[in-house]
């Protein structure tokens, strides 16, 4: 087993191209070290934490570009995230524990492709694009098209997720991220909901919902968002949109919770949270 700690993206892409599926990309290691036999068929560990280019949070017009090496603690400490990415900020705060937030990276959370990933629902409601790099070039992909199943993505072996480009909140943006976890810290979501919309004269536009832990991947809402688009929040509308959410999630029973609970709690959390904006 070889160990590399490239200092630049260029070096990194050379290495990934060389080892492809036999490369173990290591950043915070908070997911890979939990997986038994993760290193079994690997020939090289490529530690990306020394690449300075991947450790920035940059403001680019109405978007923010987050480097793959940014940890959850970096997100929480960032003024840009605090002020212009409320849902993501809330998600970062309830992710794992302090120790995990200090190590775990946002790109790692994305490529791990867990349906319970805390960062993904807020990214999905913010028109996020992932910038994938390989030796042969770069590719932009909408995060909503990135996941194909639990632990599965469209990422090719010679590619990495280098940057995450996320749309900023506007002054009229309303949003939340709410996680129903197994407990208050060190918790994995039983269900989670991210919401973002613009509210003008009481009416909501640019509405987005995403749900975590209620399907094989994080689910980006169709019917609930279409229903709410252009409407004003009142008790009846909230009730109705929450029922749409209830219908569009597809959870399973597992060790953390039941399908029935997950459906109900998504609906109820929407009621509880949306009433705050009514």
């Amino acid at each position: 087993m070889e160990y590399y700690s490239p200092k630049s993206i260029k070096e990194l892409l050379e290495l990934i191209d060389k080892y492809k599926v036999e490369a173990a990309i290591a950043a915070g290691c908070t997911d890979i070290l939990v997986k038994q036999d993760f290193f079994k068929d690997k020939k090289a560990i490529i530690d990306i934490t020394s690449i300075k280019e991947l450790k920035n949070i940059e403001s680019i017009g109405d978007k923010t570009r987050i480097g793959a090496g940014i940890t959850f603690s970096n997100l929480i400490q960032s003024k840009i995230i605090q002020q212009q990415h409320q849902a993501l900020y809330q998600a970062a705060k309830v992710y794992g524990s302090l120790q995990i937030r200090n190590r775990g990276t946002i790109a790692g959370n994305i490529v791990n492709a867990s349906p319970a990933a805390d960062s993904v629902p807020p990214l999905m409601v913010s028109n996020t694009k992932l910038i994938l790099l390989s030796k042969s070039g770069e590719e932009y992909i909408c995060i909503r098209d990135f996941f194909t199943g639990p632990g599965k993505t469209i990422l090719k072996p010679e590619q990495i997720v280098a940057y995450i480009e996320i749309e900023k909140d506007n002054t009229d943006t309303i949003s939340f991220y709410r996680k129903i976890g197994t407990r208050k810290a060190l918790s994995i979501a039983k269900a989670s909901v991210a919401f973002k919309a613009r509210k003008n004269n009481g009416r909501l536009t640019d509405v987005h919902f995403a749900y975590g832990s209620v399907g094989p991947t994080v689910i980006y809402s169709k019917s609930a968002r279409e229903y709410l688009e252009g409407k004003a929040l009142d008790n009846k509308i909230i009730e109705e949109v929450s029922l749409k959410a209830f219908d569009e999630v597809a959870p399973i029973n597992d060790i953390r919770s039941t399908a029935e609970y997950r459906k109900l709690v998504v609906k109820n959390v929407l009621i509880e949270e949306l009433k705050l904006f009514a």
């Binding site: 087993m1 070889e2 160990y3 700690s5 290591a26 915070g28 290691c29 908070t30 070290l33 939990v34 290193f39 560990i45 530690d47 934490t49 603690s73 794992g96 524990s97 302090l98 120790q99 995990i100 200090n102 190590r103 208050k184 810290a185 060190l186």
Partner: protein, 161 residues
């Protein structure tokens, strides 16, 4: 626990732990927890789960609290590593230790070094944390004996009066 005695397939690294340099050969997959405990016999850092779920192996790297079971040892090269054994040259750790003793924050003591490191990480950034900030700061560290109350009291008592 994983100790690798094989010479093949190791890499040479140097780690700066509690101000002291250690030059060692490790397998690239070896975690810092194993290096500390099995190779360097710095056993104040405890094994509790090996997957970041209990905080017993918490240490401080470049001022940040981390689980040493979640870091590959080569990743810690060139960084300042602080473990419980570093207390003799760290006044803040000693203050926390005294508070833990005085307030009865120790029972079986197995989570204690990790808890103290969590408190050290908090207090080095926040001189006078609120009770809720303390609870948050130690919430990645499981304790099965104390019910946390006296640990929170101990941390809260530091820098007061």
């Amino acid at each position: 626990m994983s100790t690798v005695k094989t010479d093949k397939n190791t890499i040479n690294i140097s780690l700066k732990i509690n101000g002291k340099e250690y030059n060692i050969n490790v397998a690239p997959t070896e975690t810092l927890l194993n290096t500390l405990r099995d190779r360097l016999h710095l056993t104040g850092t405890k094994y509790g789960c090996g997957e970041g779920e209990c905080g017993a192996c918490s240490i401080i790297i470049d001022g940040e609290l981390v689980n040493s079971c979640m870091i590959l040892s080569p990743q810690a090269e060139g960084k300042e590593i602080l473990t419980i054994e570093g207390y003799e040259n760290d006044e803040l750790i000693r203050k926390i230790q005294d508070a833990f003793i005085a307030k009865g924050a120790v029972q079986c003591g197995y989570c204690t070094p990790g808890m103290i490191m969590a408190a050290r990480a908090l207090l080095s950034k926040n001189h006078d944390p609120s009770i809720d900030e303390i609870r948050e700061a130690i919430s990645g560290n499981l304790c099965r004996c104390t019910g946390y109350v006296k640990i929170v009291e101990a941390i809260s008592s530091i820098n007061k009066a």
